[in-house]
């Protein structure tokens, strides 16, 4: 019994310590992010490459997913609303669910599956191969050179791709609502505009940026935890990805709370 309680306490302390380490690391990265001296030509080059790998390379797949998912989601939502006699809320559901929730979630999921895991593995391999030590020896700041461009790329990619996803879903929604529900373009746009709120879009923007920050920072953090053994690489990737999903869920919940508070008080 005592051992079990000790085990729980040990796990709790470990989790608290890990969270503290992660947050401390996050603050270090954030502090560096607003330091203009950090952005030298090498960093800019890495940043461009990272944006290319994270956003541009994924674009064809991303656009296809956006069109397919958008059509499916709008079709299902529209059908349900018609069955329930609530088609009046079609615009609200598109803006409230598809744009502010669904689009960021799918984008984050795609980026996390593709880029976060890759970055986690990359950092872990660098750690195992002692490349990070080499950078230390040559007095190259790993935060500036390795981490900052990747995290900035993650933030930028999630924000831009989420908005792009929303635009594509709404555009495909226009076509599919005309085909499936005989809805005119004017009615569709009016319904969307009536439900669109700038406050929701700002919360969505902040949420995307926060998610972009954490889904790259957490894999970096766990990649750094890899030991000198090659077998530690998959372990660090696994732990990193699990924590990425936990972080996504936490951010989703926090954003929902913030949005409801804004709705209530503003």
């Amino acid at each position: 019994m005592t051992t079990a309680i000790e085990q729980i306490g040990r796990s709790g302390l470990r989790a608290a310590r890990a969270s503290q380490d992660t947050l401390t690391f996050a603050f270090r990265i954030l502090a560096r992010m607003f330091d203009v001296r950090a952005y030298n030509s090498a960093v800019r080059m890495v940043l461009i490459n990272q944006i290319y790998f994270t956003s541009v390379q994924i674009l064809p797949l991303f656009l296809a997913v956006a069109v397919i998912f958008g059509a499916i989601v709008i079709g299902i939502i529209g059908q349900y609303l018609i069955h329930l006699g609530l088609f009046y809320y079609f615009g609200q559901l598109l803006m409230g669910f598809v744009v502010t929730e669904f689009a960021p979630f799918i984008t984050v999921l795609l980026i996390a599956l593709r880029s976060s895991s890759a970055i986690n593995a990359e950092i872990a391999v660098m750690k195992v191969n002692k490349e990070l030590n080499t950078l230390y020896v040559f007095r190259i700041d790993v935060i500036n050179y390795l981490f900052l461009p990747r995290i900035l790329s993650g933030i930028l990619s999630i924000v831009l791709l989420s908005w792009l996803f929303s635009m594509i879903v709404l555009a495909s929604g226009l076509i599919f609502s005309a085909l499936l529900f005989d809805m005119s373009m004017n009615d569709y746009v009016t319904a969307l505009l009536a439900s669109a709120k700038f406050s929701d879009l700002i919360v969505m923007l902040i949420k995307c940026a926060t998610m972009g920050f954490f889904i790259i920072m957490i894999p970096i953090r766990y990649g750094m935890r890899a030991t000198d053994e090659l077998t530690s690489i998959p372990v660090s990737v696994l732990q990193g990805m699990v924590n990425v999903f936990i972080a996504i869920m936490i951010i989703e919940v926090v954003s929902l709370i913030v949005m409801s508070l804004i709705e209530k008080f503003i």
Binding site: M45, N49, I51, V56, L160, L164, M167, L193, A196, I266
Partner: protein, 310 residues
């Protein structure tokens, strides 16, 4: 390769940002963010049901919103509303601002304008916000009914109290009813129940027997009377016979009367002749009188009249 990557990334960022800005710009334009707005001030007794951002409706269309709520020095709630210039034409000096508080649902802030030719509402003037409160109206309507219900409840309570009271009227009635039904149930017949005395019932039976005897006697009497009246030698046939004879005699009397009538008419005619004869006699007598008078004047056969003295 580097140039190509940079170009692709640049193009991606620029196009995506442009797309986002275009979308946001369109949304802002359609929502009237760039449109100039007119600000109006309203006053209200209470700020209950009002909130910043609350939309203002005209004919069911959202034309503005509340942007500020504050208390004046006199304790009145000052409401600042903004209305895009394109919708300012609906707000006139005689427009009515109403806060509708329905029984169910959230309050609705509306403006109604009956005369669209009235001058536009000035931004400096302070219009009054009227409150339409369905809940209070309903309570006001329901209050008399509730009072009556309270009275009825009071009466019912009093009645039930009276019913429950062992010394109350109802208990006494029930007790008496119980005694009465018990008393009635001990009787042999309904008549005994009604009279309450067996001797009286026997008397009634005896009376009924007497009445039956009397009825029998009356029946016999009537039978005898019938025979005397309508029998062969009864009174009625005799009367009929007499009446027939009387009718015959009356016929004879009728003839006699006809004769009498004729005689009387003849007598009337004779009377006429007598009248004529009499008139002739009267004229003759008159003539003789005149003659005698004449003679009397001319021949003095009479002695002189003597005057008798006293």
């Amino acid at each position: 390769m580097a140039l190509k990557t940079e170009w692709k990334v640049g193009l991606f960022i620029v196009l995506t940002v442009l797309l986002i800005l275009a979308g946001l710009g369109y949304m802002a334009y359609k929502k009237g963010i760039f449109q100039p707005e007119n600000t109006y001030t309203l006053s209200s007794r209470t700020g209950d049901g009002l909130s910043v951002g609350m939309p203002l409706y005209f004919s069911g269309f959202k034309i503005g919103k509340i942007v500020e709520l504050e208390l004046s020095d006199k304790g009145m709630v000052m409401i600042k509303i903004t209305v895009p210039t394109q919708h300012a034409k609906w707000i006139r000096s005689d427009s009515k601002f109403v806060l509708e508080k329905p029984l169910i649902g959230s309050p609705k802030f509306t403006v109604t304008t009956l005369n669209l030719s009235s001058p536009l509402l000035s931004s400096n003037s302070i219009a009054t916000l009227k409150e339409v409160n369905d809940i209070n109206d309903v309570i006001q309507m329901v209050q008399p009914i509730l009072d009556q219900v309270a009275m009825i409840t009071d009466n019912v309570e009093r009645l039930t109290g009276s019913l429950a009271d062992p010394k109350g009227d109802m208990s006494r009635i029930l007790k008496h009813s119980g005694e009465l039904t018990g008393y009635l149930s001990s009787k042999k017949s309904v008549l005994e129940m009604a009279l309450g005395d067996e001797k009286s019932v026997q008397n009634i039976h005896a009376s009924l027997q007497n009445a039956r005897n009397i009825t029998d006697q009356v029946g016999q009497l009537l039978k005898k009377t019938d025979e005397e009246l309508y029998g062969k030698d009864g009174i009625i046939p005799l009367v009929i016979k007499i009446l027939r004879e009387l009718v015959t005699n009356l016929g004879k009397i009728g003839i006699t009367l006809d004769n009498v009538t004729k005689i009387s008419s003849n007598t009337a005619e004779a009377t006429q002749d007598l009248k004529l004869f009499r008139s002739e006699v009267d004229s003759t007598v008159n003539s003789l009188n005149r003659l005698i008078n004449e003679l009397d004047k001319k021949i003095p056969f009479k002695s002189e009249p003597k005057i008798k003295l006293p």
